[in-house]
């Protein structure tokens, strides 16, 4: 039994180890995708053969606040040379925060053949493995994607409003300072900020990084995760859960943990998150 299989996850096959990745570097059916917060990280060195998917330029619509559409996803998939059969393995900086975000967006288009490399860049680095600067190019593919399906894993503000009114579980994955309303945003940087601080009434505070072993960026075992989300916070895998943060990136990490590692069947990511809720006229706020 591999280390990942021994951790008791509901769906252990969504994670691959750095050893697995190292053994599949030349596998034409595997595409490594690096997604980072810092735009300098991938060009400064990445796993051989990995392509970059940038969260701002590649995953988001460049005009409206929304994700890319079917046409945009097909173009992205073509550029990185994948088909629906390609196993896409996401990894990145910040303990796979952005990798999980990219993974989640790919799920909006039903790319089920997707995995996350446990530990991300941090573990790869700590193991002394190589990073290269050569940027690979792959033959463009024809990828026929379905229309984006927002219904199952994405939540919108009106739905969240009803969710909160019904006192259904909400998980606020931001820092305790953001949850309490003590911190809104950096002065002079209101682009990701909000006019009001606090949290959605009833939301539980579980900062996303609690799901990670900070030493190597790997996910905690299922019992350790269950101790946080189930024993401590009282969530149940049968619950209808909405997770949110500031713009929906950190909460996609928590969505990944609850959905795949703990086997929660109905978790949605509210990507409007606090930058929408905290600016929404009349929206209820708790501090």
């Amino acid at each position: 039994m591999s280390d990942i299989e021994s951790r008791g996850y509901a769906q252990p096959d969504v994670l691959v180890s750095s050893d697995w990745v190292a053994a599949h570097l030349s596998d034409p059916n595997v595409r490594l995708v690096e997604s980072n917060e810092d735009p300098l990280v991938y060009p400064s060195g990445h796993i051989a053969g990995a392509v970059e998917v940038d969260w701002t330029r590649d995953l988001n619509d460049q005009l409206r606040r929304d994700y890319l559409d079917k046409d945009g996803f097909e173009k992205l998939a073509s550029r990185i040379g994948i088909t629906p059969e390609t196993t896409v393995v996401f990894y990145g900086d910040k303990n796979n925060w952005w990798a999980c975000y990219a993974y989640w967006v790919f799920q909006l288009f039903g790319h089920r053949n997707a995995k996350v490399m446990d530990g991300g860049r941090l573990k790869w680095h700590k193991e002394g493995r190589d990073f290269v600067r050569d940027q690979p190019s792959y033959q463009a593919t024809a990828y026929a994607a379905p229309a984006r399906d927002d219904s199952k894993i994405r939540a919108f503000r009106d739905q969240v409003m009803v969710h909160a009114e019904q006192q259904l579980p909400l998980v606020d994955v931001r820092s305790p300072e953001e949850y309490s309303g003590e911190r809104l945003h950096m002065p002079d940087f209101p682009n990701e900020g909000a006019l009001r601080g606090g949290h959605i009434p009833g939301a539980k505070s579980v900062p996303w990084a609690r799901a990670i072993d900070p030493d190597d960026g790997t996910f905690l075992t299922a019992p350790a995760l269950a101790a946080i989300y189930q024993d401590e916070q009282g969530l149940d895998p049968s619950d209808n859960v909405v997770a949110y943060c500031r713009i929906g990136e950190r909460s996609s990490h928590t969505w990944f943990v609850l959905t795949h590692l703990l086997g929660f069947g109905n978790v949605r990511n509210y990507d409007g998150s606090w930058t929408e809720w905290g600016n929404l006229v009349g929206a209820p706020i708790e501090r």
Binding site: E37, D38, V41, P43, R57, F189
Partner: protein, 150 residues
């Protein structure tokens, strides 16, 4: 208020670059990063030198030189902290030895002017923290010198 002369020159040059040219340039700058010498600081680095809000765990020291200017030193503990390393080199190479007024008046705008507008808030906050520590150190030394002259 504009940037200090050498920073302004750099910003003007970067404005001519494409996104990839800017990234390549900043990576080459980060490659020049040299950690704080042991004569200034050794691990474990003291918390009061830690840059606030910097997720790359950057530290900053301002060494007072004989001519009453500052030599800037940095450490970046996160090996993925490429932007923090680039920022450290830019601040050191362009501001060490410059007038305290230049350093004290340094604006946080330098972060966006150097790195472009697509930085996330988290990344901006860390880099802004580095700028703020540099200007804070210059203000502190200015105050000390002024009080000493009285």
């Amino acid at each position: 208020m504009g940037h200090p002369a050498r920073i302004a020159e750099l910003v003007d040059t970067l404005a001519l670059f494409s996104r990839m040219e800017r990234i390549d340039y900043l990576i080459s700058v980060a490659d020049r990063f040299r950690e704080v010498p042991e004569s200034i600081a050794r691990r474990p680095f003291p918390e009061n030198h830690k840059v606030p809000a910097c997720e790359s765990e950057a530290y900053m020291w301002a060494e007072k030189l004989a001519d009453q200017t500052l030599k800037l030193h940095f450490a970046v503990e996160n090996p993925q902290g490429i932007s923090a390393k680039a920022m450290a080199v830019i601040l050191d190479e362009n501001l060490s030895g410059e007038s305290l007024e230049d350093l004290a008046g340094l604006s946080g705008d330098v972060v966006y002017d150097v790195f472009g507008r697509e930085l996330s808030m988290g990344k901006s906050m860390g880099l802004m923290g580095m700028v703020s520590m540099v200007s804070g150190s210059a203000k502190k030394l200015k105050r000390t010198l002024t009080e000493g002259a009285l």
